[in-house]
C-alpha cells in the first residue's frame, strides 16, 4: 500500500485518507461567469508525473493537507507550505 505524509500524523497508509483531487484555483464566486464556474467544477489537468493535490486524513486527524504525488509511480511528498499572505497595508485595513 502506498503511504502519504500527513503533516500532523506522519506517514500513514493511503487507506486512512480520502483523495480530494488536484488543487484547482477557485474563481471568485461573485465575478465568475457560469462557464468559468463550470470549468472550475469539471475540468482537470490530469497530468502524468508530479501533481499537487488535496487529501483528507479521514481516519486520523481529520484535517486537509496538500501533497505532491507522482501519478506515474504514486511516490508522494509533502508540498511546500504556501507563502503566508502578506499583511494588509494600513490603508487597506479599513
Amino acid at each position: 500500500m502506498i503511504q502519504l505524509p500527513c503533516p500532523w500524523c506522519g506517514p500513514r497508509n493511503a487507506s486512512e485518507f480520502a483523495h480530494r483531487g488536484e488543487v484547482v484555483p477557485r474563481p471568485d464566486v461573485a465575478t465568475a461567469s457560469i462557464t468559468e464556474w463550470r470549468r472550475y467544477l469539471y475540468f482537470r489537468r490530469n497530468a502524468l508525473g508530479w501533481v499537487t493535490e488535496t487529501w483528507y486524513h479521514a481516519a486520523g486527524c481529520r484535517r486537509f493537507f496538500t501533497v505532491e504525488r507522482n501519478t506515474q509511480t504514486n511516490e508522494a511528498r509533502l508540498a511546500p507550505r504556501p507563502e503566508p499572505e502578506p499583511a494588509p497595508r494600513s490603508e487597506d485595513a479599513r
Partner: protein, 419 residues
Amino acid sequence: MMTKPSRYSAFSLLRHGIGHSGWPRAWRSHPLKPSYDVVIIGGGVHGLAAAYYLAVNHGIRDVAVLDKSYLGSGGSGRNTAILRSNYLTPEGVRFYDRSMRLYRHLASDLNFNVMFSRRGHLTLAHNDGSLRTMRWRAEVNKLQGVDSEVIGPGEIKKLVPHLDTSAGARYPILGALYHPPGGIIRHDAVVWGYARAADANGVHLHQDTEVTGIETRDGRVTGVRTTRGDISTPAVLNCTAGWSTLISDMAGVDLPVTTSPLQAAVTEPVRPFLDAVVVSGTLHVYVSQTDRGELVFGASVDPFTSYSMRGSLEFAEGLAGHVLELMPALSRMRLLRQWAGLCDMTPDFSPIMGPTPVDGFYVDVGWGTYGFKAGPVSGEAMADCIAHQRPPEIISAFGLDRFTEGRLVGEKGAAAVGH
C-alpha cells in the same frame, strides 16, 4: 507487403487445424505513410471499430490506427467484458442498446467468433435506496424497449442458487434488477476481429507507434508527430481512454477527465455453476464465470487518480471478503491472477464523443469503467461524425460542450460499480 488474409470458414479451420500449420497472420504491417485522410490514435476497441466503420460504411479507407504498444494493450484487453444496456438515462439506454444490437451479429459481420454469451445480468439491491434506483432504471429501460425488471429474492435464488439470499446475511439481498439480454464476450476476440476486418478493408494498423505531438494551424489539425515519423492529416480521432488528456493536451483541448486504475482478478477454472453476471453496488463487487470456467471478479475504481497499473493487495483482500459475503461456498477458490487497467472518468459517468474547438480534432473518450460494451456503437457513430463532419443523433447528447453548457448525462447510479 503481405497479401490480404483469407476468410475463415469451416473448410479453412479444418485445413489449418490438421497439424496446425500455415495459419495466416490476421492483419498486415505497413510502412508509415507521410499522409492519411484520417489518423486514429489508440488501437483499442474504440479506435479499431471507428476505423472499420469508416472503411465499410463510408468508403473512407485511407485510415491509420496508431498505438504506442500492441493492439488491445489498454482497457480493451483488460476489461471484464460485461455487455448490457440497462442504463439510467433515456439517451444512455438508447445508445448502449444500439451497441448490443451490433454485437449480436458482430461475429458474422467480422467473420470472427467473438463468443458473445447472453446469459442474464443481475444487479443486487441491499437497501431501499438501491431498490428505488432499480425500479426507476427498469421503467426507463422498458420505455426504450430494453428487457429489464426488478425481481425478488426467491427468483434470484432460482437464477443463482449459490447466492446467500437469507435474511440473516450481513447485507441482505432485497431484490435485483434483472436484465436477461446482458452477458459477457471474449474481449480480445472483439479487438482482433475489428483489427482483422479493418485491415482487410484497407486500414493501416501501426503498432509500437507512439504519438508525441499534434500539429495545428489556424485552429485546424494538420498532422501528428510519432516516434516513427510525421504524418500530415486533416482529421485526428483521439481514442486513448486513460491517456486521453495527454493526447488532447497536444492539440490544446481541455477535457473534464481524470484517470484512475480499475482492478480485476480471476480464479482457477471450475465446472460451470454460475450462469448470470452478478453485481452488487453496495459491496463494490461483481462476478461472472467464463466459458473456460474461471470466475472473473471486478470492483469499483481505485480510490485515487493514477496512471500506475500495479495491482494491490488491499484490492484482493477487500474483494475476497465481499465475494464471500455473497457466495460463502467460494471460500476454497484460489485466485490465479489480478491486474489493473486505466479508466478515463468523467463527472457524470457518461462518455464524450464528437468534435472539439480544434477543427478536425475529434474525441471518443470518457469511457471510464464501462466503455467496452460501447465499442461498436461509438465506432459506428464516430465514423459517421468524421465522414459527415457533424455528430449523428445517437451521440448528440454526449458532446464536450455539455460540461460548459450544464447538460450532464448522469449515469452514476447505473455505472459506478456494474461496468
